[in-house]
Amino acid sequence: MEPGLLDFPSLGLSIAVKLLIMVGFFLTAPLVAGYMEHKVLAHQQDRLGPMEAGIGPIKHGVGQLVADGAKFIQKEDIVPTAADKWVFSLAPGVALVPALVVMLVLPLGPGLFGENLGAGVFFALAVSSVSVLGVLMAAWSSANKYSLMGGIRAAAQLIAYELPLVLGAAAVVLQAGTLSLVSIVEAQADFRIFGLLPMWFVLPHAIGFLLFFVASLAELNRPPFDMPIADSEIIFGHMTEYTGIKYAFFMLAEYAGMVVLSAIATVLFLGGWYVLPGVTVPELINWVVAFFGAGPFEFHPVVAGLLGVGVTMGKIFTLVFVMVWFRATFPRLREDQLQRMSWLILIPLGLLNIVVIAIAKVLA
């Protein structure tokens, strides 16, 4: 594997820089996603959403989540008497850490990644599934029947939807011939439909993308698949007994999960940092500049990387927007409908998709 931009000769320095960037990304991107949810959801429901809390002169509630965080820290940290205190306190962390760890392998721009693992897809999907362990821990240790029911629903949902998620990703791996996330992005740059039209995997893998997206909604307990936290039935599922900063951790885990799964979908299906299929931002700029008769510019790798990060972010937050859009639009499914949908529609569809892709791959 060739080293990325963040790999310096000194191991300690590269680790420090990577950690710094990861934590910075981890602390800002979920907040942007959360703010987006506040505002988009509000406007789709004919409201304005947060309008007061601002950062400096920028109003329209941009500081709402920061203010919320400050509020959560001040709140009393209540642990129920009957709760299993150690597990109860550990659960939010267990739910949060997988999202943080997945960021290690996410390529955000050309050369900008924590680690180009050979088994990147496998690692990302495996680690992101760990968060349900946090949910189960929270559910069991709360000593609350609603929490427990929520946890069991979450576990059942995970088992049902992990399969379509993996099947959707497996088809892409089959097509690209690699498990490395960076190589999958590069494979999409070289991919041509019928050997002619450059295209991301989203078109030939339309079914796979749909499977992956729907399954990631279910994985994140996002509406319309939020039975584990269905407020009209079981209060707030595994989060019922949580207060203060621990509750905030769960919410942060949800938004971080949205960002991370959108990022994986971006890398697998939407061509990562390529602004058009097979075209990076510097290439696009040089095309436009050449159209006006100016000479091609040389872009420093760091500048090119940052431009790539911008493109990736745009795609990630477009997917986050769609998640919020679904939340505003679709009513919650019933538990049995959810299971039916996965086992009777999505999984057969996913298997069929793999067969079709495999045949096409062999024939091509």
């Binding site: 988009v40 509000a42 406007h43 789709q44 429901q45 004919d46 409201r47 304005l48 309008m51 859009w325 679904f326 505003a328 639009t329 679709f330 409908q337 039916r340 949908m341 009777l344 529609i345």
Partner: protein, 260 residues
């Protein structure tokens, strides 16, 4: 024999329609008013707070007695007013000492405003008078006087409605005075008809009162009033009145000409 699981129906076009609705709602501007920054535009009959016009109050106590919550407190004393004429009896008059409404008890039914025979109580749309202390919700007459300044003018009358009684009376009196003056001036202009007119004058006046004119909007007057900044409704009503007046004057002049 075990039954096969029933396949769920495939997702239908309604899912996409729903997405379209939310997207359209997101694009259309919200009607939310940012309240503390933007004051609401309340209609003039809003039941916000009750105001007292102290000068009109005669301490008849009707409001206090009708109040279902007994939230109106009235104190008064009697004063002797010396007689206006020599030898007449001295009169007594009620003087208001205290008039307070406890808005912590008030249920904003408006019966006191309805029942007041002297137009001393009014509704005002002001509503921002919440306090940290329940005692401060008892508004004394000084505060009720302050609210009086916030009472909006009554809403405009509908087109074609009768004029308020006091204005109708005033107009009638003015018309009669004008006619009396005209009648006084008439004999000098037409001395030949004087003998006959003298006897017929009340009849002619009655006939003139019977002149019926179909109301129409006088466009000139209407445009002028709108240009002055009057509301369209007021302008239309006034333009109609002006038209009727003009028509009546014309008919009257015609008749007078015919008689002359």
């Amino acid at each position: 024999m075990p039954t096969l699981p029933k396949l769920p129906r495939p997702p239908q076009i309604g899912l996409l329609k729903g997405l379209g609705v939310t997207l359209k709602t997101m694009m259309s501007p919200s009607t939310t008013q940012q309240y503390p920054h933007v004051k609401p535009d309340l209609p003039p009959r809003t039941r916000g707070v009750i105001a007292l016009m102290e000068e009109n109050c005669t301490v008849c106590m009707l409001c206090g007695r009708e109040c279902p919550d007994w939230c109106i407190y009235i104190d008064s004393h009697k004063e002797v007013v010396p007689p206006k004429e020599e030898g007449a009896r001295a009169r007594t008059r009620n003087v208001l000492d205290r008039f307070a409404i406890d808005f912590a008890l008030c249920m904003y039914c408006g019966i006191c405003v309805e029942v007041c025979p002297f137009d001393a109580l009014f509704w005002s749309p002001e509503f921002e008078y919440s306090t940290y202390s329940i005692r401060e919700l008892t508004h004394e007459k000084e505060q009720l006087r302050v609210w009086m300044d916030t009472v909006p003018p009554p809403p405009e009358l509908d087109v074609g409605a009768d004029l308020p009684k006091e204005i109708e009376d005033g107009l009638k009196a003015a018309r009669q005075a004008a006619e009396k003056a005209a009648a006084a001036a008439a004999p000098s202009e037409a001395p030949a008809a004087a003998g006959k007119a003298g006897g017929d004058a009340p009849a002619a006046q009655a006939a003139e009162e019977d002149i019926h004119v179909e109301a129409q909007v006088d466009q000139e007057v209407f445009d002028q009033l709108v240009a002055e900044g009057k509301s369209e409704r007021v302008a239309r009503a006034k333009a109609k009145a002006a038209y009727v007046r003009k028509e009546k004057a014309r008919i009257r002049a015609e008749r007078a000409g015919g008689e002359g």
